[in-house]
Symmetry: C2
Subunit: 415 residues, 2 copies
């Protein structure tokens, strides 16, 4: 069964809000083995809505619309979808009663305009809204299905989970399952070249893409059962591992910070941070992960030389001789924060994020990452090669490199 998703609403079209409904539905549908061919966004305009919905119904088995179920005059999703599907809208007294009591429970009398929401397609399926007034619904005709869902994510997600999934489950045989292979330190094109022969596969499919300075492969298998699909993915991931294993840090869809926290917890180790140019970005990403307090206690944002010397014990001579952006300073920062905190691993970052501060031999995008542990201290140099408007990118990628050093530290020790 192939599907397309249509977001209805001028606020989407003009970019006032980002279309997270489409992403949510796409993920859920793909996981159910429903193939998505198109997504669209159309404004609250009858002619264009009619054209868009007719076109979708003509080329897809399943069309899911989000938004346009509200009480106001420009909410037309039900009216136009039912017109296209040749279904009649009829008043459902029970739903009307439900909407009335939803308002009275808040001590408000239902505005008459909301009665509009109690009209549903005759002979269609109705989906209850547990977080709002607008019910969802589905109409079927000639093997085509049109589903209409409310736009607000908290209404949509609950309705999809509890009402729409069971409805769709009857329609779909088989399962599609995707797994992510996350790499670090290799570009998308280089990665794609090395696994080129796998990219032509029909089932599982292997698709490369880049995200936040990382190259990823998405392995997607279609099978009768979840177990079989999982097995097919794993077999393909093994083939990928043979080609680029050294760059893979995760095949369980954990990102860098999640992998770092997982490894530190497994090994019972603690980490401390001394951040200069990343200014707390590494600490922020580590503490994004629930339970990170087990492995992370000390973070110092040393955004001046005084802090580096006073709190981290960096020698003034070191800064005078080599400047604050140097291997030597990074090393002393990492050792200093490890000593201060008593953690097993001390990580430090000092560099030039931009836009200003770059020089010929120390350009914007340059950073030194110090890594200190019981076995010693070493420094890794990062050059992002980007300057203009890349402060966020430089900081993010530098933080990613620091996180990856922790992962490599543990992986190498396992080998």
């Amino acid at each position: 069964m192939n599907c397309e998703i249509i977001g209805v609403g001028t606020e989407l079209l003009l970019g006032d809000i980002v279309n997270t409904d489409a992403q949510y539905l796409a993920r859920e549908l793909a996981a159910m083995g429903i193939v998505i061919h198109y997504q669209e966004v159309v404004g609250d305009n009858p002619e264009r809505m009619r054209a868009c919905i007719s076109n979708a119904v003509s080329r897809s088995d399943l069309v899911i619309l989000t938004g346009g179920l509200g009480p106001t005059a420009d909410d037309l999703t039900k009216e136009i979808s039912c017109e296209v599907m040749g279904a009649e809208l009829v008043l459902d007294e029970d739903i009307l009663e439900g909407i009335r009591s939803y308002f009275s429970s808040k001590g408000i009398v239902m505005p008459e305009s909301n009665a509009k929401q109690a009209y549903v397609p005759k002979g269609g399926t109705v989906f209850a809204n547990r977080n709002g007034t607008a019910p969802g619904c589905a109409v079927e005709k000639d093997g085509k299905t049109v589903i209409m869902l409310p736009g607000p994510p908290r209404e949509l997600k609950v309705m999809f989970e509890y009402e729409v999934k069971p409805y769709l489950a009857q329609k779909t045989g088989g399962v599609i399952l995707s797994k992510q292979v996350r790499t670090f330190g290799i570009g998308e094109s280089d990665m794609a070249q090395r696994v080129a022969d796998l990219l032509d596969g029909e089932n599982p499919t292997v698709a490369p893409y880049a995200k936040d300075g990382e190259a990823l492969l998405r392995v997607t298998a279609r099978a009768e059962t979840k177990e079989k699909a999982e097995q097919m993915c794993d077999e393909t991931i093994e083939k990928i591992r043979e080609k680029i294993g050294g760059y893979i840090y995760s095949t369980d869809s954990l990102n860098l910070e999640q992998t770092v926290v997982k490894l530190l917890r497994e090994k019972g180790k603690k980490i401390a941070l001394a951040e200069s140019c990343t200014g707390g970005y590494i600490a922020k990403r580590i503490t994004d992960v629930p339970g990170s307090s087990e492995v992370f206690e000390y973070g110092i944002v040393s955004y001046s030389n005084e802090v580096k010397m006073k709190l981290l014990g960096v020698k003034s001579e070191t800064i005078e001789q080599f400047t604050e952006v140097s291997e030597q300073t990074a090393a002393e920062m990492a050792e200093g924060v490890r000593k201060l905190s008593g953690a097993d691993i001390g990580i430090s970052v000092t560099g030039i994020s931009g836009p200003g501060g770059g020089t010929e031999d120390k350009p914007v995008g340059l950073a030194y990452i110090g890594f200190s542990h019981s076995g010693g201290t070493y420094v890794h140099e990062v050059r992002t090669g980007r300057s203009l408007d890349s402060r966020e990118y430089n900081r993010y990628v530098t933080a990613s490199n620091a996180l990856h050093m922790v992962i490599q530290h543990f992986y190498e020790r396992d080998e």
Copy 2:
């Protein structure tokens, strides 16, 4: 001129990433007076791409594609768009040289597959990529224009701002200019009600929207000149100020952290941070702002009680008697970091971000923000009211509240 935006990529279609490019472009285009009728997303599938692009060209004057300009075999945006527009792709030696030097600046030899990115439509317009290897381009035919831009937001935004805007400006008469009115501490619907009479305006238009826990108004004016449009926006912003002035923290499209750094620089004050539950998020956001090192030197991520006591001087009795998530601990943290750093303002945060750790009287989403300055120390309590899956939201909104306290501190002193 009417326009549609097509996002190309299976990662978008399957919901691996959310389509923020479409939102960004929609906003920018609307602000330029270009009417958007449709947005689509299509996967890396030649037939469906061809159908989608042909359909778009047939009904819209301007079609903007994002993504699919990568070096891999499934990147087909240029190939298929040019086929539809009847344009030939030719190798541009200069671009090829640029891509080679981009790689060599990172100390890497260009993978041969990247040469694909140096092919551009014959007789078309080329847009330089300042943050990546894939150039953008535009082809025109019979009054129709197709623009192809890279998918990664960092590449797309800079290219659009510096290359595509000037290109489009020639095509559109007059100027459309938008200004943002940013508020804090008021909900979107409440805000919308208070400025309701302004929301019906034709020119300027006033549109409310919510973002990251803040309520914003976008004021958009259309005029012959930039100056005139600016003046129209400012007059409307004055009317808005009369109604909700107390909630407005910025009308120059600066966000919270940018406003904080601007104010601290103007006043010549320095700030220091002691973060527990936000784990470096405030430091990260402040150091997102270029030049923040002038006003921010010391950040402590105190993710354990030991750090709070050892570095910040929080009394063990305070933690024993009131726990680490308490007004008293927040106050001592703020005073402690101010003392340690010698900064003018000390900010502290301690709270429960979730998913775990909540109790009846101290639920997930609760945080105490300490504010210490020469005039004394006070504590602000935040309750986000969210628990389930809201760790990121709780941390972000708590950080926003802390930043807003700094802004209020200065605004109140001006009055």
